[in-house]
Symmetry: C2
Subunit: 204 residues, 2 copies
Amino acid sequence: MASPLPAVNTYSLSNYSYLTTKHPKIHKHTSHADPFDRMKLNYMKDGMRTSVEGILVVYERNHPHLLLLRQIENTSYKLPGGRLKPGENEIEGLKRKLTSKLGSNSPDQVPEWKIGERVATWWRPNFEDVMYPYCPPHITKPKECKMIYMVHLSEKECFEVPKNIKLVAVPMFELYDNIQNYGAVLSSIPQQLSRFQFRMIIKS
Amino acid sequence: MASPLPAVNTYSLSNYSYLTTKHPKIHKHTSHADPFDRMKLNYMKDGMRTSVEGILVVYERNHPHLLLLRQIENTSYKLPGGRLKPGENEIEGLKRKLTSKLGSNSPDQVPEWKIGERVATWWRPNFEDVMYPYCPPHITKPKECKMIYMVHLSEKECFEVPKNIKLVAVPMFELYDNIQNYGAVLSSIPQQLSRFQFRMIIKS
């Protein structure tokens, strides 16, 4: 028998809020304006980059929405997450990154992150934008492996982000098949989540 | 801690063969040439259609390939599977459908199907081609729910198909992002499978 569908409890978008009180992160290595230059330098030092990102789902009008970070200056959307340290465990690294992207400055108010199942794995064969959901044949030295995980949110949460960032809830129907606005990774998340059973928890 | 990645043992394409010795299936209700006419009639009788399909993976040149059925007269590709009977269990129904599409005519040579995890769920809101990986908001009566499962193949297998059908192995890199040739459901399977760990089993 197949195992039952993995279930995800989701709560209303109105249960979540965010403050823009965190200091914006000062980018390291600002001398390397091209992000792929920095990736190349790090690759020579540490080998393939491994990065982790989290999928946080809420509901609004009976439909699941994804929480995404949007830079105010450009309109690019990102899942919260980032690069692992060399040798760092994926789950611990994702918790660290979620705290640095969404947690409060005061360590006693950091959410207790519950990391669920792996949802997708993407591979970057070259120092370029394009990634694939498999390591392409004949690529023996991929430059990045990005692992995306389900994050099970608590019923209520107050996040904190820097003031140049907005935390937005994007409906599945807006992401789906919308590679132009969200890119290949985000626009295929609805298909990857279609195997989950989203339980919308309504509190009286 | 998150659970370990689900693993799928895959074997070389050369371990599998197929015969075209089975009688082609005579379509029921041939008076209804439009498939959506038939779907409407069945909907009035039985309610929402539920269908199941199986993902069968083999490897060739170190890259995972999907086994698909291709009609000879047109060039449309299909996952093996089909419609459940009213009230039929998904897993049992998928085994029955795999046997009818790929099994031998002699009942003692039917493969022992091992059905794994749900990979995706697609919804058809109307009597039309388009499906979504979620039930769209405001759709209270979807017309079809299609569930796609991983099928764990045995090391060797000889399938049997009707003579107007070919069984073909399509590489992930050919399916990926190729909605024009394979449609929305098949072209997004590489993303859905990216969370699996494919172990290519090489026999000496």
